[in-house]
């Protein structure tokens, strides 16, 4: 009898853990289904509205739909819809790993000045015609934005490795970067012609309408490159959240892990921003929503962050098309308006500690 009781007790933790893992996998699968639906609805909406059935038929039996429908779905709307999910996923994943390696809930490409740096880089091209990388003048705007974003990300990283620099200092440095680049951007805007000023303002609001297939492929490729890298270090990245000393005591080379992660995160954050402009909210809140839903075991947190970001931006894309009929509002503006209420609901209904 005693043996039987002991047996039951020893299996309790294991069974509970298996059930918890199963619930999380089910949640991630549910998010995948929601994302597919969201992308389909996103493609159905536009100046000419289509039914969900028409969109799905066009996706899976392209030969059985009209040429017009096929062109609209595949050549016009799909790049935008896929850009929404790749950009959302990239920014959210970048934010998730920034928060992990800097042990700071406020870390994101936006709050650490990476987006502001990209905005300044783009404005340099739009206002002054300055190409930081003169060999590719035709891609001046995204390349300027990318190089400035990378410079800001690397500055943050190397500052974080200096002796005596705390995670709080890093966030303060990031805020200083935001103010610096915003001030420089304002200066450029002040000096800009009316036409250039309009272009800068539009760029900094963020827009998916600039999406093209090559941009989707590049953003998607960087995302597909980053995910396995993070996945390989899933246990180590999770352990980093137990504190630097604890992680080191578990045999993790914390310095190297931070460096590799920050380099990858820099790419993840810089590429989407250089293509679609400043989208601030996803990189900060996407990871927090994922954390509330599945915790911080990176085996679940990583896919959940990707899906949360993708879902958030895809939903935002739908709202940006439907809020004012006939107009597509800038996605950077709508993201916060869609995300904040949802985030509030999660904060106030979530009983578990979220950070």
């Amino acid at each position: 009898m005693a043996v039987a009781a002991e047996q039951i007790e020893t299996t309790t933790g294991r069974d509970q853990y298996r059930a918890l893992a199963f619930r999380r996998i089910a949640l991630i699968c549910g998010m995948l289904v929601a994302l597919f639906l969201s992308v389909s609805i996103d493609m159905a909406l536009g100046p000419a509205n289509y039914t969900l059935r028409e969109v799905l038929t066009s996706l899976f039996h392209a030969e059985s739909v009209s040429d017009q429908l096929r062109v609209v779905i595949w050549d016009i709307r799909m790049p935008i819809a896929l850009m929404a999910i790749t950009v959302g996923a990239s920014l959210s994943l970048a934010g998730a790993q920034m928060q992990t390696i800097l042990a700071n809930p406020l870390a994101s490409p936006f709050t650490l000045g990476i987006s502001a740096a990209a905005g300044f880089g783009a404005a340099l091209g739009l206002v002054g015609g300055v190409a930081i990388f003169p060999a590719a003048v035709q891609y001046m705007i995204p390349i300027n934005a990318f190089l400035m974003a990378m410079a800001a990300a690397l500055f943050i990283h190397f500052a974080s490795t200096m002796r005596g620099v705390t995670v709080e200092t890093i966030v303060l440095l990031g805020i200083a970067l935001v103010f610096t680049f915003n001030a420089l951007l304002s200066l450029l805007e002040y000096l800009a012609s009316e036409q250039a000023l309009a272009a800068v303002v539009f760029w900094t609001m963020g827009s998916l309408t600039k999406a093209t297939w090559p941009k989707v492929w590049i953003t998607g490729a960087v995302l597909l490159f980053a995910i396995p890298l993070f996945a390989r270090h899933a246990w180590a990245l999770t352990a980093l959240r137990l504190g630097e000393d604890k992680a080191a005591s578990l045999g993790i080379n914390v310095r190297r892990l931070r460096l590799h992660t920050m380099m990858t995160v820099s790419l993840l954050a810089a590429i989407p921003v250089s293509f679609v402009g400043t989208i601030g909210f996803v990189g900060l809140v996407g990871p927090h929503i994922a954390r509330m839903l599945v915790g911080e075991d990176q085996r679940f947190f990583l896919p959940a962050s990707v899906l949360c970001g993708a879902l958030l931006l895809s939903t935002t894309s739908i709202v940006s098309k439907t809020l004012i009929p006939g107009a597509i509002l800038p996605i950077g503006v709508i993201t916060a308006l869609v995300g904040v209420p949802f985030f509030f609901v999660l904060i106030f209904t979530n009983r578990r500690r979220a950070w």
Binding site: T10, G13, A236, G243, L250, E296, W355
Partner: protein, 251 residues
């Protein structure tokens, strides 16, 4: 059973020497060795140096070959980091470093066994952020034990525990060390715990080793006066065991 000997061990942070000249006779596997000394004496640094997490002069000589590269396990003082993980997940991830995503039943059963041995299985699915300081220390011990170390370096593992838990944990660790042959070095502030549970003691003060040997030989009234600046007596209690009785501090 792995024993270790420290030969001229020191540690540096940059150009700054924070620990020097720690020499010991062999610290045998199967027993506990206390590392004592005032605050900021260099106890944690010594542990980091032995674990390979800090660099410096001298050598740590092992009496036998370790089974794996990570079987010297350092359990740091709790930093209070609040990961959104359950206790169970935090112990699992300690055991899974460097291995695949797949979690085997045997690994989960081992976690169950350790949580039960430490009597914290009721906390298994509580979040780390919901735990008290003492509970977090018990979880840290579980995270260390799940890695099956051959040399375990515990940095003040009982500082936040209540008296009952302190005695329970130290008694458990002593038995475990004897049973498994593990070498346990444990930083302690309570010298009565050192006298009761540890065979050997190393005294560290101002970044240097000032005494090393069997606990009864090391914890003396002279040492307490010189190192801890207290007037104290080491007397036998009614059970015939030595206890430290502090009279007053020396100003």
């Amino acid at each position: 059973m792995v024993g270790l000997t420290l030969k001229g061990v020191g540690a540096k942070y940059g150009k700054h020497t924070v620990l020097s000249d720690v020499d010991t006779d062999i610290l045998n596997g199967g027993v506990m060795t206390a590392v004592i000394g005032p605050n900021a004496a260099g106890k944690s640094t010594l542990f980091k140096r032995i674990a390979g997490l800090a660099s410096g002069p001298g050598t740590v000589v092992l009496s036998d070959t370790l089974k794996g590269p990570e079987t010297i396990c350092y359990m740091p003082q709790d930093t209070g980091a609040n990961a959104v993980l359950t206790v169970y997940e935090s112990v699992l991830l300690a055991s899974k470093q460097g291995s695949s995503w797949k979690v085997r039943d045997s690994e989960l059963l081992e976690i169950d066994r350790i949580l039960q041995a430490l009597r914290i299985n009721d906390l298994a699915f509580r979040g780390l952020g919901e735990l008290s300081g003492g509970q977090r220390q018990l979880v840290s011990i579980a995270q260390a034990l799940v890695r099956k170390p051959e040399v375990l370096l515990m940095d003040e593992p009982t500082s936040a525990l209540d008296l009952f838990r302190q005695i329970e944990v130290l008694g458990f660790m002593r038995k475990l060390a004897a049973k498994s042959g593990m070498s346990v070095l444990i930083a302690l502030h309570d010298l009565n715990h050192a006298l009761r549970y540890c065979d050997n003691t190393i005294v560290i003060a101002k970044g240097a080793m000032v005494a090393s040997g069997t606990t009864g030989d090391v914890i003396t009234e002279a040492m307490l006066r010189d190192i801890y600046r207290v007037e104290a007596r080491v007397e036998m209690c009614s059970h015939g065991k030595p206890v430290v009785i502090v009279d007053h501090s020396i100003i």
